[in-house]
């Protein structure tokens, strides 16, 4: 039962990340540059990395623990970076629109 729940959550996470990947790539043409455009490229790279990481989650039980731990730590690190970049981007947009 636990395995099924985990599998469903993993599948939902992968689907969500693919949707996110679709969004960042399809919106790219509308944001060719500028403040948002530069951050958008970086966010797109992070989303690609996350998508690859999420696709690997079903195989995590086959990865040795000494490799898995750093991989999970890296995913957390990149997740934190993603959040920081997004929050700063929103902050800069609001500042630009209100100045």
């Amino acid at each position: 039962m636990d395995f099924d729940v985990t599998m469903i959550i993993n599948a939902l996470a992968i689907l969500t990340m693919f949707y996110c990947l679709y969004l960042v790539l399809s919106l790219k043409s509308a944001i060719p540059g500028g403040m948002v455009g530069k951050r958008w490229n970086f966010l797109s790279v992070l989303v690609v990395l996350f998508t690859m990481g999420y696709l690997a989650t079903p195989f995590f039980d086959q990865i040795p623990p000494e490799v898995l731990q750093p991989v999970i730590s890296l995913i957390f690190l990149f997740g934190a970076i993603y959040v920081v970049v997004t929050v700063r981007l929103i902050f800069n947009i609001i500042r630009e629109l209100t100045e």
């Binding site: 509308a30 944001i31 060719p32 540059g33 500028g34 403040m35 948002v36 455009g37 947009i93 630009e96 629109l97």
Partner: protein
């Protein structure tokens, strides 16, 4: 006169529209004031119910040289109203946007096209466009666009 034709006041038409003389009849003056450089002849016919025989009057105003459909005829006009010279300003600002932004000018052009032709409305739109360019296209181009566009409207 084609229904899709968009007319605007010439400098002479501007002068007469804002004067209180008797160069034209009150019916003609009402039609002249209704011409705004944005509304087509077909739309004017439906909208301007207070003018009798709209198409006939427009033809006469056209013949008198008070209204025109060629933007080049208003190049020396003063910048005080949404039609006429305001249209020319928009054309010039759009030209700058296309020159600076190339293929990325589409959204900026639409914003300028949708705005009123008064200097105040254009200034607000130019500032808004500058922010949009800075955020989504190019920081440096945004400043160049702002400087050149403000120069056009004399700000």
């Amino acid at each position: 006169m084609h229904n899709d034709l968009i007319l605007f006041r010439t400098p002479k038409g501007e002068e007469i529209a804002h004067s209180h003389g008797h160069e034209i009849s009150s019916n003609h003056r009402r039609a002249l004031i209704a011409v705004d450089g944005k509304t087509s002849v077909g739309a004017l016919t439906k909208k301007v119910f207070w003018v009798s025989d709209v198409v006939g009057v427009l033809k006469e105003l056209y013949t008198l040289g008070l209204i025109h459909d060629d933007v080049k005829t208003i190049q020396d006009a003063t910048v005080t109203q949404s039609g006429g010279a305001g249209l020319l300003l928009k054309v010039q600002i759009i030209k700058i946007a296309k020159e600076l932004l190339g293929n990325n000018a589409e959204r900026i052009v639409k914003k300028i096209e949708d705005t009123e032709g008064t200097p105040e409305a254009l200034e607000a739109t130019i500032l808004s466009c500058k922010k949009l360019i800075k955020l989504t296209i190019n920081d440096d181009v945004a400043d160049a666009f702002l400087a050149r566009a403000l120069l056009i409207i004399g700000r």
